[in-house]
C-alpha cells in the first residue's frame, strides 16, 4: 500500500530477498540443475508443509506467544485422517474435517489453559508436544504407519493445475492485486488523504504481473502449478486479510506490542489469545493432512524431528519478531523459501542431514540477531516494547 521505495519498515524484507537470491545463485553455481523448473517445482512441494506451519507460527509470534507443539498436532491430525479413512472407511471429506476439528480442539485446550492460569505458552506447548506425540504414537499403533489409499487425499500434494488453468489463476492474482490498489486509492482520495503517483501504482502492478508470469511460466514448463501451492497461497491470502484488514488482526498486533495497553483499550486479550491458538492448531492440522498426502500414509514420525523448529525458524527468518507485535503472513512463505532452498540445495549436493541442520541453525541465529538488533535500536530510540 505504501510507496515502493525501501523504508525502515520493509528494509528487512529486502535483506531476506537478497539473501534468498544469494542462496539461489550460489547453489546454481554449484549445481546446474538447481534452478531448473523441475527442481523449483519440487522445492515448492517440499516447503508446502513448512510454509503452512510457518503461517500459523507468524500469527502466534505476532501475538507475543509461541507454539512448540505444531509438529505433534500435525502428527495427531494425520493419524486421525488415516484412521478414519483406512480403518473406519469414512469418506475423505469427513476425515479431513475431523482432522481439522481435532487440531482446533487441541488449540482450544492450549489457549484455554494458557489464559486461565497465565502460563507461558512456551511451557504449555512444550508439554503439549510431549502429550500429543504420545497420543500420535498410541493412535498410529505398532505398525508405525497407517497407509492412505483414498484417491482424493493422495491427490492433494501430488497433482498439478493444468497449464491453461494455471494462467487463469495467474491472471486472477494480478487482477486482484490491481483491484486492491484501485480500491485503496479511491478510498484514500475520497477521505482526502494523499496518494502515491499513478505511475508508482502502475509500476507496482506491472512488477506483480511480471513476477507472477515468470513463476507460472517456469512451473508450467514442468508439470504446472502444484495444487498444494494454490492451497498454501489461499491460506496465506485469508490470514493476510485477517491480520491486516480486520479489527481482530489489529488486536493481535496490539496484544503482542503492549498487552497491558491492549487490555486498557478494552481489547479482550484472553479471548483473542484462545482464538489464535485454535487457528494455529487448525493450520497445523492442515499441515498434517498435506504431509500425510505427500507420504500416502500417517506415520508415527510425521511432524517430528526438526520440522516445528524449522517452522519457527522460517517465520523469524522471514522477518517476524520473536518479541511479539511485528510480523506479516508473507514472512512465512519467504522464510520457508529460504530454509527450503538451503535444504534442497544441500540435498542436491548430496550433503547429509547433519549439514542441513547446522546450516538451518546458523541461518536462524543470523535472523534472530537481526531481530534483536532491530529491537535494541527501537528501545534506544525510547520505545518501551
Amino acid at each position: 500500500m505504501r510507496a515502493l521505495l525501501p523504508t525502515a519498515r520493509n528494509a528487512s524484507v529486502y535483506t531476506v530477498v537478497i539473501g534468498l537470491a544469494i542462496v539461489w545463485i550460489v547453489f546454481q553455481l554449484l549445481n546446474d540443475n538447481y534452478l531448473s523448473a523441475r527442481n523449483l517445482s519440487n522445492l515448492l512441494l517440499q516447503i508446502a508443509v513448512l510454509g503452512t506451519l510457518a503461517i500459523g507460527m507468524v500469527m502466534v509470534l505476532v501475538l507475543g506467544e509461541i507454539d512448540l507443539s505444531v509438529g505433534a498436532i500435525a502428527g495427531v491430525s494425520a493419524a486421525t485422517l488415516a484412521i478414519l479413512i483406512t480403518q473406519q472407511g469414512a469418506p475423505a471429506w469427513v476425515a479431513i474435517l475431523a482432522a481439522l476439528a481435532v487440531g482446533a480442539a487441541i488449540g482450544l485446550l492450549h489457549g484455554t489453559i494458557i489464559t486461565a492460569f497465565g502460563i507461558p505458552s512456551f511451557i504449555l506447548t512444550l508439554a503439549g508436544l510431549l502429550v500429543w506425540q504420545g497420543v500420535q504414537l498410541a493412535a498410529v499403533g505398532d505398525g508405525g504407519q497407517i497407509p492412505i489409499r483414498d484417491e482424493f487425499v493422495r491427490a492433494i500434494a501430488s497433482t498439478y493445475v493444468t497449464p491453461a488453468f494455471g494462467w487463469v489463476l495467474a491472471a486472477l492474482v494480478v487482477l486482484g492485486a490491481a483491484a486492491v490498489r484501485v480500491v485503496t486509492r479511491r478510498r484514500r482520495i475520497r477521505n482526502g488523504l494523499d496518494v502515491p503517483p499513478v505511475s508508482n501504482e502502475v509500476v507496482a502492478v506491472a512488477a506483480t504481473a511480471v513476477f507472477v508470469g515468470v513463476v507460472t511460466w517456469v512451473l508450467n514448463s514442468y508439470f504446472g502449478i502444484p495444487w498444494v501451492f494454490v492451497l498454501v497461497l489461499a491460506l496465506m491470502l485469508g490470514c493476510t486479510v485477517l491480520l491486516g484488514g480486520t479489527s481482530f488482526g489489529r488486536h493481535m498486533y496490539a496484544i503482542g506490542g503492549n498487552r497491558e495497553a491492549a487490555r486498557r483499550a478494552g481489547i479482550r486479550v484472553k479471548r483473542t489469545t484462545i482464538i489464535v491458538f485454535v487457528l494455529i492448531s487448525a493450520i497445523a492440522a492442515l499441515a498434517g493432512i498435506i504431509e500425510a498426502s505427500r507420504q500416502f500414509s500417517a506415520s508415527n514420525a510425521l511432524g517430528g524431528g526438526t520440522l516445528q523448529l524449522n517452522a519457527i525458524a522460517a517465520a523469524v527468518i522471514g522477518g517476524t519478531s520473536l518479541f511479539g507485535g511485528r510480523g506479516r503472513i508473507y514472512h512465512a512463505l519467504l522464510g520457508a523459501l529460504v530454509v527450503g532452498s538451503v535444504q534442497n540445495g544441500l540435498d542436491l549436493l548430496g550433503q547429509p542431514a547433519a549439514i542441513k541442520n547446522i546450516a538451518t541453525g546458523v541461518i536462524l541465529v543470523i535472523a534472530v540477531v537481526v531481530d534483536a538488533l532491530g529491537r535494541r535500536r527501537r528501545i534506544a530510540r525510547g520505545a518501551t516494547d
Binding site: 505504501r2 519498515r9 485503496t184 478510498r187 484514500r188 475520497r190 477521505n191 482526502g192 488523504l193 486479510v241 484488514g245 480486520t246 479489527s247 489489529r250 488486536h251 498486533y253 496490539a254 503482542g256 506490542g257 503492549n258 497491558e260 495497553a261 491492549a262 487490555r263 486498557r264 483499550a265 478494552g266 481489547i267 507485535g325 511485528r326 527501537r378 530510540r381 525510547g382 520505545a383 518501551t384 516494547d385
Partner: protein
C-alpha cells in the same frame, strides 16, 4: 476566567445537579499497602478538578480504580447518581470514562491512527474489514485540532518523542470521552507550548460539558486550570481548595501535611 465557584457550577451544563462521577469511602489495597483509605471524590459536568498529592499519595491508584484497570476493595462509585461496578476498562469506557495513564498505554508497534482507534476500530459498511482510510482521515483532523506536531500518522509510535506520544494519548481520551476524562500527569513530558495546548484542550473538554480530572505536580498549572483542587495524602483525603480563594502554599501544606490546614474530608 469567569469568577464562579465550582459548587454553583456557572457553566451552561445543568448546574446544581448531582456530580457526574462520585466516589465515596473508596478503599484499595495492594497486598499490605493501603493505597486508598476511605477516599471521597466527586467531579461534575463542566468542571475541572485537579487531584494533587505527593509521590505515592494514591492519585494514580484512584484514577486506575475509576478507569477499571484496578478493582476497588471497598466503597462505592456512582455515575450520574447511579451506583456502578467498574470491573474492567471496557466497563469504564462504556460509561463514557476515558483515561490518559501516567504510564502511557500506547502500543509502540502500531501507528498513530491505530493507537487512536485501538479497541474501537471503524469498519467499512457491511463488512468485517477495517475502514483504514476513514480512520486515518479522522485521526488527521483530531491531531490537527490539537495542533500537535507529528511527522506522519502511519509510522509506529515508537518512532515518536515522549511529548508526541503523550499528545496521542491525550487526543485519544479527548476523542472518545463522553462523560469523564481522567488525565494522570498529562504534561509531565511536555514542553511549554505543548503543555499550554493540553490545558487548552482540558478547558475545551470542560466547555463541551465533560467532567475533567487532572493530576499534576505543577502548582501554577493547577491553579491556572482547575475549578477545584482535591488533595490526597498517604491514600486519604487531605483537603479541598477553591483556586480562586486559596493560596498555593496552603495547598502545598496540605500535600506535605506540614500544617493543620485542610482535613475537610
Amino acid at each position: 476566567m469567569p469568577a464562579v465557584t465550582p459548587e454553583t457550577g456557572g457553566r451552561a451544563f445543568e448546574p446544581g445537579l448531582r456530580p457526574t462521577l462520585e466516589l465515596s469511602r473508596v478503599t484499595k489495597r495492594y497486598g499490605q499497602v493501603a493505597a486508598l483509605t476511605d477516599v471521597d471524590f466527586s467531579v461534575s459536568a463542566g468542571e475541572v478538578v485537579a487531584l494533587v498529592g505527593d509521590n505515592g499519595a494514591g492519585k494514580s491508584t484512584l484514577v486506575k480504580a475509576i478507569a477499571g484497570t484496578h478493582r476497588i476493595d471497598g466503597g462505592e462509585i456512582r455515575v450520574d447518581g447511579h451506583p456502578v461496578s467498574i470491573g474492567s476498562p471496557k466497563d469504564a469506557t462504556a460509561l463514557g470514562i476515558e483515561t490518559v495513564y501516567q504510564d502511557l498505554a500506547l502500543c509502540d508497534n502500531l501507528d498513530v491512527t491505530a493507537n487512536l482507534f485501538l479497541g474501537r476500530e471503524r469498519r467499512r459498511a457491511k463488512s468485517a474489514l477495517l475502514d483504514s482510510e476513514g480512520m486515518e482521515s479522522q485521526a488527521k483532523a483530531i491531531i490537527a485540532d490539537l495542533a500537535a506536531h507529528l511527522p506522519t500518522l502511519d509510522k509506529p509510535v515508537s518512532a515518536l518523542s515522549g511529548g508526541q506520544r503523550q499528545a496521542i494519548a491525550v487526543s485519544r481520551a479527548a476523542l472518545w470521552g463522553s462523560r469523564v476524562v481522567l488525565l494522570d500527569e498529562p504534561t509531565a513530558a511536555l514542553g511549554v507550548a505543548q503543555t499550554a495546548m493540553v490545558y487548552d484542550l482540558v478547558r475545551k473538554l470542560r466547555d463541551r460539558g465533560l467532567a475533567v480530572v487532572v493530576i499534576s505536580h505543577n502548582m501554577a498549572d493547577v491553579f491556572a486550570v482547575a475549578d477545584r483542587i482535591v488533595v490526597l495524602r498517604l491514600g486519604r483525603n487531605a483537603g479541598e481548595f477553591d483556586p480562586l480563594t486559596a493560596r498555593p502554599d496552603q495547598v502545598v501544606a496540605a500535600i506535605t501535611g506540614s500544617d493543620a490546614i485542610g482535613g475537610a474530608a
